[in-house]
Point group: D2
Chain length 267, copies 4
């Protein structure tokens, strides 16, 4: 079983003479089951899609791709925003690399309570953890894609009644100096939208969310600004990218806006 | 250049002894530029994705896949709902098959005039031609996917003001005994939606479409029924499938309905 | 909390006069966490995408879409090929429908052992359960999409050395009269491919799978026929559809073949 | 028809007091027909997907999204690598913005001649033009995604016969100081792969490409390095990103590598 007994050449290990270092070499689009701790301490199971990579110095021909897969298959740890760093560390150590990283995307569920009936249901969000270790310095980025309702202020103002509204994807990526939970970032997005979404709504709730969105019209530019304003006040956030894509109900294209800021460089 | 001079075996041509005929053998997901005649007689250029296949009798090992690609590359004809049959015929003849078919999907543009300002713009639709020749009998199916606005009657009725609305995909497939233009089928879909979409709207138009949708609330069930009622009256239509998927603005899932009817068998 | 105290109209419940019954009305593209029992009796967690629907008689205006979501959120059962029927039953009962069904798609993992080194790793498959209850009669379809290696017999025969090969998606759908495990159907697919895939391979394993594929060349037509031959002999299978899509390494399109058979009607 | 006659408020034009400038506000995922000049001077028709945006200073509430759509609909120009700048200029001028840009992605066809039989066919590539005008300075990026064959050196060396190979996407993005044609960049990619792809191959050609790939094994790291080496010598290129994603035929995941270089800063 031991590969030492097979006289098989290590093709990846030979010397390379092209003098071109590789910024990222690794594997992509591999799915693996994970366990994630949520804010309440309970554990959520999901299937994540991974992108794992290291830098490759110019003198080496190739990386041993199978080691990335070994890390996934040997690992039983419960992943959280806090513990993800150790997984990134493993990549750099097992691949004997100077730098490396992991991008892990997964569906995440949060239990929600309908605003009037109080009925409970789950809502799904797309979450990405990105961890990069560069020469010993770790950088973590948390990204959430939050589906929300947006209602157009222009449509409301110019129309005698009604206003076009639609589902939007409000995405927030944060570089932090201290931990922020997925649930907190989702909350920031949902609080700044015209209305939040729910899996399950009774008619009394449907009345509530319809009227709330109408009372709270926002352009795509308003939503990203209002989220940015909250992140500007949060001292745990060093930098952010806020995006909204509104799948317009009156057009066959999206309205889009993006605000980004690095607080460390703009002072 | 002639392959006759190469002593290369015809692996596909050998006898097969498993006694299993193949319903479809061919190529998929190949993109090729096409020219389509629209209702006005002008010609539209597009890139289509093709699925081309034939039946393979049990005694033959394989089909000559390259012949499908030759048909695409040797062809300069302008395609229309009417002329598509000759392309399907080519498949059956060139592959020396009893039966065969083509599925061709492409983006199609229709010039639209905004309802108040009169400003012009293009809107894109996804169109699929499916032609099957089975033992000499030709069957053609035209499918259009039409993006529209749907506004929820329940939300309108229960709410003091506003109503949730969203983009929907209203799909119609028709089996016909006489030609129907893409533009006609798109028109059926747009007429039965809460409102149609436009690429370009001025504020006066935005007022119009917002109020029109509010005046015209429809459940996903209403939309497919109203389209079905129109197709029931159209004597060129032998059979149809009507579907609507509403990308709900208050949920992270779709509402969906489907009505299908074969007039030839339900009499 | 009780909606009875809100004087809100039941818009879906009113009488419809268009005399058009709806074949499918329901929800689509909703994601929900599930637990699946595998063949060994252990439980696998996944996130599934659901399509849930019922028939709607012509006299009713709409279905109560929220009930589908309630079924998902109130449900804690562990799903298996065997227990899925009860979930479909719930849909028909809760929606008070004559007929209805569920389509549930999820990633499923099977632990695999590398052929020479014996190293273990997981491989992911796409699985779909489709259950339809029509006037009290239940029909279940199990579909697996199995990624495999295919190696071209023509390329091998005409070339002095080497042979083009590629990843293929081999899909099997079965209508059964008795239970078949996901693992069994995946096994049928992997046994008939040029070679099966693994998450993790050492160099000794890579030698094995490379040589195995070269020793075992198959056209897309061969693969679907060889799978069909196995299903023909399996008395639990009433009907099947077998498809293979080969993402050709020498072209930018796929080779494709499909065999389908209904044993109940072809006798 | 003139909107001046409608007393409709300009909601986008009001003053904003949040003091947050927006980096990108615009439209996304809009499809529009285009005409592209290829290297030979002939004109190719395609349908492109556009992302168009401008910066929005902190004191303005919103951008007039319809102006982006007007630019697309009023435009009849034939686009080329050279003329794209004028379209980007239009965006900045019509939106009265300091900075702005366009990202345009489209399928592009190049006629290819099979290596032995000389038979002709088209092959499709995904091309993206990105043009950004920032305070009067124009930056253009040309990206091509080229499907190629990669054959694994390790698999070849360890195996007694055969070698796993697969389709790969080799992507090149270049920032240039002088024009480079799409065809040139595609050529760089195809020359450095194990073998290039063709729409149409006769058996004599299939022998050629199979043997060529076997004679020319390359890891994902080799391919990106060999492309980088060519771009390092091309004085028209100021900076580049080279990526390859190999859809491994023995795994259900991709191998991936990336090299990037900015010649202007690394001197």
């Amino acid at each position: 079983m031991n590969e030492a007994v097979f006289p098989i050449a290590d093709v990846q290990g030979v010397l390379d003479t092209r003098h071109i270092a590789i910024n990222r070499a690794g594997i992509r689009a591999i799915r693996h089951p994970i366990k994630i701790t949520d804010r309440d301490g309970s554990i959520q199971s999901a299937v994540a899609t991974f992108d794992m990579h290291v830098t490759l110095p110019h003198q080496f021909k190739g990386v041993h791709m199978s080691r990335f897969v070994e890390i996934l298959n040997n690992d039983d740890r419960v992943i959280s925003v806090k513990s993800f760093e150790s997984m990134v560390n493993d990549v750099v150590e097992r691949l004997q690399a100077e730098s490396g990283g992991i991008e892990m995307t997964f569906p995440y569920f949060i239990g929600k309570t309908a605003p009037v009936s109080g009925i409970n249901s789950l809502l799904d969000y797309e979450v990405t953890f990105t961890g990069e270790m560069q020469k010993g310095i770790y950088q973590f980025v948390l990204k959430v894609v939050v589906p929300v309702t947006s209602l157009c202020p222009c449509s409301k103002q110019v129309s005698a009644y009604g206003a076009h509204n639609q589902r939007s994807h409000l995405s927030i990526s944060v570089w932090t100096n201290s931990y922020i939970w997925i649930e907190e970032l989702v909350g920031v997005a949902e609080d700044q939208a015209s209305s939040q979404l729910y899996g399950l709504l009774k008619r009394s709730d449907e009345k509530y969310v319809t009227e709330k969105a109408y009372d709270n019209p926002k352009f795509v530019e308003d939503v990203v600004r209002d989220v940015a304003a909250v992140l500007n006040r949060d001292e745990r956030v060093n930098a952010y990218v806020v995006e909204s894509e509104n799948f317009e109900s009156i057009h066959n294209h999206s309205a889009y806006a993006l605000v980004e800021r690095n607080k460390l460089t703009d002072l």
